[in-house]
Amino acid sequence: MKLKHLTAGLAALAIASPIAATTASAYELTIPSLVYRTGPYAPGGIPFANGYADYFKLIQERDGGINGATINFIECETAYNTQQGVECYENTKGQGQSKALIYQPLSTGITYQIIPKAAVDEIPIFTMGYGRTSAANGTVFPWIFNFPGTYWDAASGMVNYAAAIEGGADKLAGKTIALVYHNSAYGKEPIRTLEELSKKYGFKLEQLPVDHPGQEQKATWLQIRRMNPDWVLMWGWGVMNQVAVKEAASIRYPMDRFIGNWWAGSEQDVLPAGAGANGYLSATFHAPGASFPLHQEILETLYDKNMGAGERGRVGEVLYNRGLIAAVWTVEAIRKAMEIKGSNEIIGADVREGLEALDVTEERLAELGLPNFTYPVKITCAVHSDPGTVLIQQWDASGGVWKVVASGIEPDRDVIAPLIEEDSAAYAAENNITPRDCN
C-alpha cells in the first residue's frame, strides 16, 4: 500500500514537473543542453558537455546573463539514446518564458529525430560539425545549422591534406585510401564524398565498417595490413577510436598516415594506446589547449570558486574546447537575435534569425578571448555551413598534447556543393518541402 502512495506521489511530480516553470522578474532564456555523461559514449560526451555548460555559466556569473536576460540552463541526460533524447526534447522545449531557444543534440540519431520536429516547433537546431550534411543548404533546412564544417568538408579536407603531404593532388592517383568507419548513419556520412573524390583524383577507396561498439577490430586491421593503404581515414566514436589507435600502433601502421575525423581526435582516444599513439593525426576546426584568455577567465571565474562543470585539469581538452566554441557561437547568435529584434525578449524563431545573420570575425573572437582559435564564420539564409576550412592536429604522446600541424586546408567545394544540392533536393522531394527563396 505504501508503495502505491509513493508511486502516486511520484506520478504527480512527474506530471507537474514539465509544466512547473520558475518565473523570475528578469527575462529568462531557456537553453537546454542534451548531454550524455553515461553510457557507451560518455567519455566523449562529458568534456563537450562541460565546455558547453562552463561558457553559459561564465556569461551568467560575469555579465549577469546575455544583455541582461538571465540564462536558464537545463541539462538533460540522454545516454546517447534516441528515445531518451526525445523525452528530453519534449520535456525541455516548452520550459520557461522564452521556451527552448536552441538545441545542440550532439548525436546523429537524435539529430535526425528532431530535424522534422524543429520546423514545427520553431526551434533552431545547431548541429555543429555533425548530423545531416545536406542541412548546410538553408533553403531546404531553414531550422538546421551545421557550421563551421560538415563531414563532407572534413573528408575532403583530410584528402587534401594527404595530397599536400604526397606532394600535390596529382600524386594521389593510384594511391589507396582506406576508410575505417562506425557502421551507422554517422560513419556512413563521408562515403559519398570520398567516392566522388576517388573518381576525381584517381585514388582507390577501401571501405572497412566496424560495428558498434567496436571492442574487437582485429579483422579490420588485418585487412589493412594486407591492403597496406597509403592513408587511413577514420570516422569513429566511443570505444572504437581507442581500439583502432591501439591496433594501428600494433600492426606498426605509420601513425602520421592515419587521420581521424573531428570526433576521433581527443585525448581520451589516444591515451589508452600510450606511446604507440604518437603521431596520430586528426581533423579539427579549432585549436586545442587552454592557453587562451577565455580559458583563464573560466578558470578564475568558475574553477577558483569551485563552480566549474568538470575537473580543472581537463579545461582545454579537445572536446572541452569544442563544447566551448559551440556555446560561444550560440551566445553570439542570441546576441544577434536580440540586436535584430531590438529587445532581449526573444524566442526560438528569433534565434534562427540571429543565426542567419551570424558573422563572427577574427576581431570578435579576439574580443571574446579566443584569438586565432578558429576560423571566422559568416552564415546567411542559404548557407548554413561556413567556412568548412579544416585544421589537422597531431598527437604528441611524450608531451601529452595535441599540436596543430596544418591549417587553412580548404575542401573541394566544387565537389561538395553539387552533392549537397542533390541530397537536400532528395530530402525536399521526399518530404514535400518547397525550398524557400533566399534572395
Binding site: R37, T38, G39, P40, A42, P43, I46, N183, Q207, L208, P209, V210, D211, P213, G214, Q215, E216, K218, A219, T220, L222, Q223, R225, R226, G238, V239, Q242, V243, K246, A249, S250, I251, R252, Q268, L271, P272, A273, G274, G276
Partner: protein, 298 residues
Amino acid sequence: MAIFIETVLSGLMAGVMYALVALGFVLIFKASGIFNFAQGVMCLFAALTFAGIMEKTSVPWPIAFVLTVAVMVGVAWAVERFVLRHLVNQEPIILFMATIGLAYVLEGVGDIIWGSDVKVINIGLPSGAVDVLLDNFDIYLDKLEVFAALIAAVLVGFLAVFFQKTRIGRALRAVADDHQAALSVGISLQTIWVIVWSVAGFVALVAGIMWGAKSGVQFSLSLIALKALPVLILGGFTSIPGAIVGGLIIGVGEKLAEIYVGPMVGGAIENWFAYMLALAFLLFRPQGLFGEKIIERV
C-alpha cells in the same frame, strides 16, 4: 599463405580473449544453474575498481589487484546474501532476470563511485606486435594477446586443479551434479555460492584487465559479454574446456569469415557470423560441443 596463418593465429588469440569472458559464465552456470547476465558488467566493475584504486591512491598494481579481488569477494557475498538466498528453487528465467537487476546495480554503483570517463590501465602489460614473427616471417601477432593466452592457460590450469584436487572443488562439483544430494551430505550451498561467485569475480577481473588494456576501461567493456555468448553456446554452458575450444572455433571462424567473405558482402559480418556458426553447431548438438547430454523423460 602468411595472411592465412596470420588470420588463424589472430583468430585463436581473439578466441582466447572471448573464452576468458565465457569462463565466468560457465563457472556460475555449472555450480548454480544461473545464466549470469551480469558477467559482462562484472568485468567492467572489476576493471573499473582496479583502475580506479590505482588512479586515486597510486598504490602499486599488485596491491590494487588484491584489493579489487577483495571487493569482488564482497560483491559475491552480497549477491548470495541479498539476492540468491531469497530466490532458491526459482525457475532459471527468474534467476536470469535477477542477474539483470544485479547488472544494473553494479553499473550504477560503478558509475557513482568511479565516474564514466575512460581509465587507462598502465601496469606494464606488453603491447605491439611480436617482433620476431613480424620481422622474420611477416606474420603479425599481438603481444598482449599472447600474454592473455598464457594467463588464460594458467587460469584454466589453476581452476582444473582447484576443481579436481581440493576439498572445496569437490564440493563444488557435487553441488553442480545434484543440489539436494549435496545438501544431504552436509555441503553448505550458501558457502559454495559465495565461493563460485568470488571465483567468477576473479575471472571477470582478469578478463576486464586484458580487454581494458586494449581500449581503456569504460562502459563499453560490459558489452564484451555479447562476444562471449556464441562461445558459450558453442562450447556448452557447463564445460570449461568447452569455453576454451568454443572460443577458439568462434575466434578463427569469425576472423576467416570477415577477411575472406566480408569484402564480398560489404564487411562487418563477424558479429552475426559468430552467432550463425554457433547456431550451425547447435543444430547438430543441441547441448553444445561439450555440454551434458540433455535427457528428457515424461
